[in-house]
Amino acid sequence: MTERHARTPAQPLAGAVEIDWGQLLLLAFIGGWILVFLLDARSTSLSVHNLLLVEPAAIIGLLLCVAVLPQCFRRRAVSVATEEALAKRRRERAELANIALLAAAFGAFVSTLETVGFDVGCWLFTAVAIYICGERRWWVNLSFTTVLTLVLIYGYRAMIPFPFPLTVL
């Protein structure tokens, strides 16, 4: 087996402290939101009826954020980047990019639903999402998308009491 040992310029030194930026960002979001929520609740009123649960729960939440914080930093194990490890990292990045694309498409879908209508929005999002998820046969994509849109629009319209904003159907 031929394995090429290499150290990329981006690879940190073995034994150095590594920061898990993703987790740190998530923790900062949760901790930041809890703090903002507590301050908002306190600015509304200092009455016991307002803060009876919110204040102790928020303080506990903030203390737990502090307890979790060290988990965002860890000492990097001594290892050498192999071709296989680099390929794995590239694959992970490609998968993450796929997820980000799908999430962006989903965000665009829900935020434009009322503007473009459920029929057009559903059809467009499904077609784009199926493509992102890896279906390259256009006839499978378009036929599945069309059938799904029709079934969902007519099915949900029959079942729920609220009107759907529609453009074509």
Partner: protein, 505 residues
């Protein structure tokens, strides 16, 4: 306890009238279908069918609506197992082990176990209701905010068992959920955390948030997976394996019985119901199990506990409806509307004057729960085909269905936006190994905790001695403490024995 002439009269009504039976199977099918559709609640299904009952007599009308209720009780478990979306809030705990079982190729067994637990749960609840309808209703009337607060605290204990590998992350996820659950205007009229968004005044819509946290987050993780079950041989849909799931569930009669009792009692309390009962039953099953570490990884006992509790909660809430004329939840509120449409008023007078009709409804409920078994198996076999759909089609389809379902909750775009926001939060939490289930439980219990804490504070005037005036609350607290103490002691003894064994070995 039993009024024999009324019983005979009830049997006569049921055996002489075909109209009482003809609506059972359609009702079960409607319930299963609506229960399995994310965002379409049992209430919505019953509300849609309510006008149809105007043209029926009272007994067939109620039997039709209760059939929908019974069907939907299990219907929610089907998407919970297959795609990690609880069809109803009552099936949240079913996702904890049902979905991991499906990922391991045990979807047939998980559905079979869930179905049999549901059928037995409904049967047990109605048998118990049959025997104890009047005294049970009197007990329920004595439940005040303090008792409800104790029930909510009991539910919070579940957080301890959902923490995963890191206790701190699990508790943080749960606390985050509780705080999210208190957004909006509380019962005292204070508005917090709405960021000026009008639809947050009523709080975060639980169903879209739950779908986002549990399902959409998982779907993002599955974007690069070819099939829900990677092993092709495991993707088969098999009646034999569904029946094997039924047998698996029967190996745990204690889990099923405990789940059913929790479901009946919690279901009978107005405003609490099946959404909490399934969580409590799951927590108790995990806490008392000799293998708690396997829960959340596809332990069938988790499915059995959750499904027996959420199905038996139906019997509990029907007890409150019949005995007091008080709806225990929104589904029984629709039933109360059907009572009113036929000029019938529930409560003690109804039970004493129309006991034969009450017994006829209860007999019919027993028959419905038995019929749910074959109808449910056929439904599961059809629904299980979902595991054969490639993820590249299933992921977009489920995201779109979830979006439609979230819109159906309130009829505006707040649902889809909530779904999107929570799917991103859920995905990040899953990626960094925070238990999203703990956030969902916190979200479900946050408002209940705060409302009852405020009500208790108002009634007691902040005097802690008030608890001594509420023997029911003290009894529940003592039972909880004893039960947790006994478990901790048993675990301590087990660890000591294990260490002693290692030293000797």
């Amino acid at each position: 306890m039993l009024d024999v002439p009324a019983l005979v009269s009830a049997l006569e009504i049921l055996s002489s009238s075909w109209s009482a039976w003809v609506w059972v199977i359609p009702g079960l099918l409607i319930g299963l279908f609506f229960g399995a559709m994310p965002g379409i609640s049992i209430t919505m299904a019953m509300a849609i069918c309510l006008p149809m009952t105007l043209y029926m007599e009272f007994l067939p009308a109620i039997i039709f609506l209760t059939s929908i209720y019974t069907g939907a009780g299990f219907g929610g478990a089907v998407p919970a197992v297959l795609i990690n979306i609880p069809g109803t809030t009552a099936a949240v705990a079913t996702t904890f082990d049902g979905y991991p079982m499906a990922r391991k190729g045990m979807h047939n067994e998980a559905l079979g176990a869930g179905l049999s637990a549901s059928v037995i749960g409904v049967l047990l609840s109605y048998i118990l209701l049959f025997l104890t309808i009047v005294p049970m209703a009197e007990i329920v009337l004595k439940m005040g905010p303090l008792e409800m607060l104790v029930v909510a605290i009991w539910g919070m204990m579940l957080l301890g068992s959902l923490t995963g590998d890191s206790m701190a992350r699990g508790l943080l996820a749960g606390t985050f959920g509780v705080l999210l659950g208190t957004i909006g205007m509380n019962t005292a009229g204070f508005i917090r955390g709405t960021m000026g968004i009008p639809w947050l005044l009523d709080g975060i819509s639980v169903v879209p948030a739950m779908m986002g946290l549990l399902a959409a987050s998982q779907l993002f993780m599955l974007v690069n997976t070819p099939y829900l079950i990677e092993n092709e041989a495991a993707r088969q849909i098999s009646l034999l394996r569904i029946m094997s799931g039924v047998r698996m569930s029967l190996r745990y009669p204690v889990v099923m019985l405990r789940g059913s009792v929790i479901g009946i009692v919690i279901g009978a309390v107005p405003g609490v119901g099946a959404s909490i009962a399934n969580l409590l039953a799951y927590a108790e099953a995990k806490r008392t199990s000799p293998d708690p570490e396997t829960f959340g990884k596809g332990n069938v006992k988790g499915v059995v506990a959750s499904e027996s509790a959420n199905s038996s909660a139906e019997g509990g809430s029907m007890a409150t409806l019949f005995a007091l004329g008080i709806p225990g939840g929104s589904a029984t509120a629709i039933m109360l509307a059907a009572f009113a449409m036929h000029n019938v008023v529930g409560g003690p007078q109804f039970i004493s004057d129309q006991r034969h009709v009450v017994y006829a409804i209860l007999f019919s409920e027993l028959a419905q729960s038995i019929l749910l078994f074959p109808v449910g198996i056929a439904f599961c076999m059809a629904a299980a085909y979902i595991v054969r759909v490639p993820m590249r089609l299933l992921v977009p389809a489920v995201l779109v269905v979830a979006t439609f379902g979230s819109y159906a909750v309130d009829g505006n775009v707040s649902g889809p936006i909530t779904l999107f926001v929570f799917s991103i939060i859920g995905w990040a939490m899953v990626r960094y190994e925070y238990p999203v289930a703990a956030t969902v439980v916190g979200l479900l219990l946050g408002r209940l905790l705060e409302n009852n804490a405020i009500n208790t504070y108002q009634i007691s005037g902040g005097d802690p001695a008030y608890i001594l005036e509420r023997p029911a609350a003290v009894a529940v607290l003592v039972l909880m403490a004893l039960s947790f103490g006994a478990t901790a002691w048993a675990q301590h003894k087990g660890r000591t024995r294990q260490r002693a064994g290692q030293v000797q070995g």
